[in-house]
């Protein structure tokens, strides 16, 4: 099956059969949306909670608020139905245990992601967030399953 690799602050959508993957999420969050009827999936790799305080707004995929909306709109254009979409999220770790407040950006990214989902009324059906390790994720658009691979904590499917 073909696999599309998505970089930091980037997103992609695809129709089954295709895999969407992003590697080495630390404090960033990977959000996948999936329409199980049409088997259309999407993945965005966000870095920051909101575009509001950003000086540069060139890349909307960088932020949870604008990135998720852009992802959803592109999927709808491809034929996905908003009311059928569900979400899975992963990442938002605190990679360094010893640290001050600015190291909490992972938590803030996860909280912002959940707020955006709530305002869009898209349910988050599974998540693997927080803790202190990196994650590589892969969405299988045939099944909607999200595989999460870590360096030292094994692999899980949600």
């Amino acid at each position: 099956m073909e696999t599309i690799t998505i970089g930091m602050a980037d997103y992609a959508i695809g129709r089954s059969p295709i895999n969407l993957t992003t590697m080495g999420l630390g404090s960033c969050v990977g959000i996948t949306l999936y329409d199980p009827r049409n088997r259309i999936g999407g993945l965005v790799h966000i870095m920051l909670p909101t575009v509001e305080q950003a000086r540069s707004r060139d890349n909307l995929a960088k932020f949870a608020d604008t990135g998720i909306v852009q992802l959803m709109e592109d999927m709808i254009e491809m034929g996905a139905l908003k009311s059928r979409l569900h979400a899975k999220i992963a990442g938002g770790a605190s990679m360094f245990s010893s640290g001050n407040g600015s190291l909490k950006i992972g938590e803030r990214n996860v909280a912002a992601t959940k707020e955006v989902m709530e305002s869009l009324r898209i349910p988050i059906v599974a998540e693997d967030t927080g803790k202190n390790y990196g994650r590589t994720i892969k969405l299988d658009t045939v099944t909607g399953m999200l595989t999460i691979k870590s360096a030292l904590k094994g692999t899980k499917v949600i």
Binding site: M8, A9, M23, G24, G26, M47, S56, M95, L103, G134
Partner: protein, 208 residues
């Protein structure tokens, strides 16, 4: 002002060479302090110098999923940015057998963590103080943060912090090697564009 991606190509040859020389001074001194520490000669590659979109930096570092020991420190003061070192597990084991006289397989053990933080602090401190001396600037370095994980996951915090206000970062990267490759690793720094302005104005003054 603030430099942009295309403007790095517009630097004069002199400015470009000066920037590269600065990277050489910093990394060279850091390599010297590492070689004293491990009592072995350390060589470094000529540093590469790039103005890069922040979200594209993981591509420069290479091997997003490769397992490395990462040490990160923030640089602040007259220049702002990050200095990071990424080392494979074998290199950390070599350092531990040289410094502690024993090999600890648990790379995340407290012993290894504090040893590597100390190594990072010495290297980062040397780097920053050599730049401070060269430019007569006030530059400090934060305590080091260390962990063992996927390279991209280790560096993303620094990239997130940089990307709050910026699109581009000035990235210097180089590789360090101890003979017979018992220790090797990447060392790189990122500076914000205001720091590049600062550096350039100092360089221009040196010419006059």
């Amino acid at each position: 002002m603030g430099y942009k991606l295309n403007e790095i190509d517009q630097l004069t040859e002199f400015q470009y060479d000066a920037l590269r020389e600065i990277a050489n001074i910093g990394f060279g001194n850091a390599a010297t302090s590492l070689s004293k520490l491990v009592n072995n000669e350390v060589s470094i590659n000529i540093p590469a110098l790039k103005m890069q979109l922040i979200e594209k930096v993981p591509g420069i570092v290479g091997g997003e999923e490769s397992l490395v020991y990462g040490i990160m420190m923030q640089i602040y003061g007259d220049l702002n940015g990050y200095i990071m070192m990424l080392l494979p597990a074998e290199s950390v084991k070599s350092i531990s057998s040289i410094l502690l006289n024993y090999e600890n397989d648990d790379l995340l053990s407290e012993m290894n963590m504090s040893m590597m933080q100390e190594v990072g602090h010495i290297l980062g401190g040397t780097y920053v103080s050599s730049l401070s001396d060269f430019f007569n600037m006030n530059i400090s370095v934060s305590p080091p943060y260390a962990t063992y994980d996927m390279a991209a996951a280790i560096i993303d915090l620094a990239l997130i912090e940089m990307s709050r206000d910026l699109e581009y970062a000035l990235v210097f990267d180089s590789e360090m090697m101890v003979k017979d490759n018992i220790i090797n690793g990447k060392i790189f720094t990122m500076f914000d564009t205001a720091s590049l302005d600062q550096i350039m104005s100092r360089i221009d003054k040196m010419v006059l």
